[in-house]
């Protein structure tokens, strides 16, 4: 049986290998901080296995997470200039390989889908090949490995170090932002442990008339929208609104389908992202890149769509999730 933990070890190992590459990259002015960040993250991926099994204490991992927060939060990470191809070389290579370049990229979702739908049902001697409950995640991992093989074959690339260096370049340019979604999930768990969910539920129950499904759905979606506009980030709004309305009211009290409520609720938050200057990288940076006089031009172009889609999302949850 292929276990999901093996896959987490693979991801951890990739982080560790890339951390070693970073450590020796003298073009990166902050190479020690960068290597420490990704190396520690890789080590945490291994250690977590035994925390989940409850054979090692969780407290050291908590300390490590706080150290990661400090390294990233106080800007101790940076990026180097990994050796890569120039714009002209890339144009030449694109002309040479043409549409073949899309094949490896499409392999990832294809393999992931096949694993989740087909391979998930396969069994050897009564035990399923893929660990139960992790089929999609394992499919993604297998997809990425197969795609890498296909890519190296299609592009006639023999050295594994080339994709590893290229991937490290992407990792460095995304930086600590790559860890933010996971830390927001951690924050959600802390909210729950500290009783934030209970408090907000009491609050919303006192506001919401009993059993008013439409009002509850609208409150969840509009809350995602408003919190996202204020914070500039739907990911940050999600733990708050889900603890307040999504989970306790829509899913537990009204028996909504969790996948539908939460997936569409997140998209209601994305409608907020389309309307807020706080989401600078999506709304303000393009205006600067396009040399627009009105820096709110993209927001003005997006806002009517966002409001209409907020309505669509409310309708989708109301009609299909219950």
């Amino acid at each position: 049986m292929i276990k999901s933990e093996w896959f987490f070890w693979l991801v951890g190992a990739v982080f560790l290998v890339m951390a070693v590459q970073m450590l020796f990259d003298r073009t990166n002015p902050k190479r020690h901080g960068t290597a420490a960040f990704w190396g520690l993250l890789g080590a945490c991926f291994f250690y977590s296995t035994w925390v989940n099994e409850k054979s090692l204490p969780a407290e050291p991992l908590g300390i490590a997470v706080l150290v990661l927060i400090c390294i990233g939060g106080f800007n101790l990470t940076g990026k180097g200039k990994p050796e890569t191809t120039s714009e002209e070389e890339r144009a030449g290579l694109a002309a040479r390989f043409g549409g073949k370049l899309f094949i490896p990229a499409l392999t990832i979702p294809l393999v992931a889908m096949v694993c989740a739908v087909l391979v998930a049902k396969w069994k050897i001697g009564g035990t399923p090949i893929l660990e139960k409950g992790s089929e999609t995640i394992l499919g993604l991992g297998l997809g990425a490995i197969v795609a890498l093989g296909v890519g190296m074959w299609v592009l006639r690339e023999r050295r594994v170090s080339v994709p590893l260096h290229a991937g490290r370049g992407l990792l460095e340019s995304m930086g600590w932002a790559l860890l933010l979604p996971q830390l927001l999930a951690v924050l959600g768990a802390i909210f729950q442990a500290a009783g934030v969910g209970d408090q907000v539920r009491k609050l919303t129950e006192s506001i919401l008339p009993d059993g008013q499904k439409l009002a509850a759905v609208a409150l969840y979606c509009a809350g995602m929208f408003v919190f996202t506009v204020i914070m500039g980030n739907a990911f940050a709004a999600f733990p708050v609104m889900t603890a307040a309305v999504g989970w306790p009211v829509l899913i537990e009290q009204m028996n909504g389908d969790p996948a539908a409520v939460l997936a569409v609720g997140m998209l209601a938050g994305f409608c907020g992202t389309l309307c807020t200057p706080m989401a600078a990288n999506f709304n303000i940076v393009p205006a600067a890149l396009l040399e627009l006089k009105d820096q709110y031009g993209p927001i003005k172009a997006q806002a009517p769509t966002a409001v209409a889609l907020l309505g669509c999302n409310i309708a989708i949850i109301y009609f299909f999730a219950f």
Binding site: V14, F15, Y47, S48, E59, P60, L61, G62, V65, G73, T85, R90, G92, A94, F97, F102, A105, I108, A116, E135, A144, G151, L155, V162, A166, L171, L179, P181, Q182, L183, A185, L187, G188, A189, I190, A194, V196, V200, I230, M231, G232, F235, A236, F238, A259, A260, A263, F270, N283, P286, L290, L292, D294, G297, K300, A301, T305, C312, I316, F320
Partner: protein, 257 residues
């Protein structure tokens, strides 16, 4: 009630643009202390929830192959593909087609082939402008401006080029199961509420909204052509009035001379 101050820390932290990692760390510690957890319990919660939410970060495993493809010209090839589409279309139709393409590619995990720097500035904005110039090139508001669109109209076209890219990305990427938002939902719910959600189910539930987004935004883009025409006609009328005023001015000047 006092634990709600933790939520306030998050809202204030993000709204005042502090480093998001520090906001999350401080909010977590503050909320834990307000909720009467001991420091050791807070550390344990940090550790346990990190261990059970690792699936959120695993999309990093796709970076080597994406990096390999990008250094071999993936983005350039995507540009060539778009370039072939947009030679005979109106601005609105071209942007609608780009919206569809951006949604479809994002839905299979190719979020990085588009974007304001990768595609909008070098490709989409110039092509959308060129389409409008081709269509309205005979109007004096354009010919009088050296064949370029008047500033206000040009801004509008470029804003819509950027907006289309963002809408296409947002309402396409969630149909891909290994995107941060989908993994955040499963990671959060599975570690907080101790249930089991599959990323694939969430990704499938993103499809209805994606379809709505295509029709809503695509419909607006198709109406954009008419809107641009109306604005250019107004600009024309304004120019004519301005020119007549100027002529009258010179005539009056000559009369008083």
């Amino acid at each position: 009630m006092i634990v709600l101050l933790g939520v306030l820390v998050v809202v204030l932290g993000f709204a005042t643009r502090r480093n998001p990692l520090l906001v999350v760390g401080v909010a977590g510690i503050v909320t834990g202390l307000l909720g009467k957890l001991s420091p050791v319990e807070i550390l344990r919660t940090f550790g346990e929830s990190f261990a059970s939410s690792r699936s959120v970060t695993i999309f990093a495993i796709t970076l080597p192959v994406i990096g390999l493809l990008e250094r071999n010209g993936l983005q350039q090839q995507a540009r060539t593909l778009i370039g072939k589409l947009g030679t005979k279309l109106t601005t609105g139709r071209f942007l609608t087609l780009y919206l569809l393409l951006r949604q479809l590619t994002a839905a299979v995990g190719l979020q990085t082939i588009g974007g304001p720097a990768q595609s909008v500035r070098p490709m989409i904005a110039p092509m959308a402008e060129a389409a409008a110039e081709r269509r309205f090139g005979h109007l004096p508001a354009v010919t009088g401006n050296g064949g370029r669109l008047p500033e206000k109209v040009r801004e509008k076209v470029r804003s819509h080029a950027a907006g289309t890219d963002t809408v296409g990305l947002f309402f396409g990427e969630d149909c891909f199961l290994a995107i941060g938002s989908i993994l955040l939902i499963t990671g959060l719910v599975n570690s907080t509420y101790h249930t089991h959600l599959e990323p694939l189910h969430l990704a499938l539930w993103a499809i209805p909204s994606a379809v709505c987004a295509f029709f809503v935004h695509g419909g607006r883009l198709l109406r954009l052509d008419r809107k641009l025409e109306r604005e250019l006609v107004t600009a024309n009328a304004e120019m004519t009035v301005a020119r007549e005023d100027a002529q009258r001015g010179t005539q009056e000047g000559e009369a008083t001379k």
